[in-house]
Amino acid sequence: MDVTGFALLLGFYLLGYALQSGLQLPIPANVLGMLLFTAALFLKWVKLEWVEEASAFLIRHMLLFFAPFVVGTMVFFPYIGEHALQIIASLLLSTFGVLLTTGWSAKAVDAAFGKRRPGKNAGAKEDISG
């Protein structure tokens, strides 16, 4: 993994953290860091080739970084068990409902504005996930 890119990503995360805690913003440090980092890319303060390799590695293995959180749900298994019907039914149904509502709205608005472009995967050719 390219170390310059990794250092820059950590730097923007730190910047997001400093802003979030300093200004008491209601947005998490990593999301703030992402917004600042994206802005820096557009402003050409950060060149794509500096960060491309490190970003590709981290994004390709992002599911790994969530694993301890999923394992941590085991502490609540007894509580979830007690309220199993309410929790599991509403988790499944509301997640499916949100997925469909959002997906169908995006389709409907896109159709209304007539901005459908040919080829649903156009532009996705350069796959960074390797």
Partner: protein, 230 residues
């Protein structure tokens, strides 16, 4: 060094997580229906329960792994930048869909828990579960829910959306990258985004963008709710 001392080393949790993930990825390559995050996490839970190793010991190393989510989320800026032209020409659709989705996430979970006879505390705890966990947790705390349980439900929501979302959406006729990414990013935050990023960089970059917008929209939607819930 005894075994019980060994499991208190950060190295234990780090090694177990990376090894379980590596094995789960191999299974996923062989059988694509197996979700790598689900398989890895389930294997770790079973191992901890079977061996009697406390979760608190595992967590010492697990925290090192989750730390990497910080730089990985920042890294989502790269695909967003590379796909900016496509995202910009669909910006209206994405913003409208994410806002609609964020409102429906709050209303649907509240209505479902209420109709199934859940307590007010459980309703509030469930309401912010579609947004990224640090925000969901903070909203739950301010609104009078159980923040730790909200964090857990947020992770499970992400996992459900990540496991079943792509297939459900395709079956419902939502096939293009823009709508798919918006739906997954809104309903299943980073866990869903990480999953679709493996299929399409474009869908993944829309997912990362939608996740950020949903986080901001949901935080704003809760401001009037705080007063009403007090």
């Amino acid at each position: 060094m005894s075994l019980s001392e060994l499991v208190h080393e950060p190295l234990f949790g780090v090694t177990l997580t990376v090894a379980a993930y590596a094995a789960a990825l191999k299974l996923h390559e062989r059988w694509p229906r197996i979700h790598p995050l689900f398989a890895a996490s389930a294997a770790i839970v079973v191992l901890l329960l079977a061996s009697g190793i406390p979760y608190e010991s595992y967590r010492i190393g697990g925290d090192y792994i989750t730390f990497m989510l910080g730089p990985a989320t920042v890294a989502l800026g790269v695909p967003l930048y590379k796909n900016a032209a496509r995202v910009r020409c669909h910006a209206a659709a994405i913003l409208a869909a994410v806002t609609t989705g964020s409102v429906s996430a709050i209303l649907l979970s509240a209505a479902l828990v209420w109709s199934l006879g859940g307590s007010m505390e459980l309703i509030i705890t469930m309401m912010p579960k579609s947004v990224t966990s640090p925000i969901a947790l903070e909203i739950s705390r301010q609104a009078g829910g159980i923040p730790e349980l909200t964090a857990v439900l947020t992770v499970l929501t992400g996992l459900i959306g990540s496991m079943f979302g792509p297939a459900l959406l395709r079956a419902a006729g939502v096939r293009d990258d823009i709508a798919l990414g918006a739906a997954i990013g809104t309903a299943a935050h980073g866990i869903g985004t990480a999953r679709i990023m493996r299929d399409s960089e474009q869908a993944g970059s829309v997912g990362g963008f939608a996740m950020g917008v949903a986080a901001i929209v949901t935080s704003l939607l809760f401001i009037p709710l705080y007063a009403w819930l007090q």
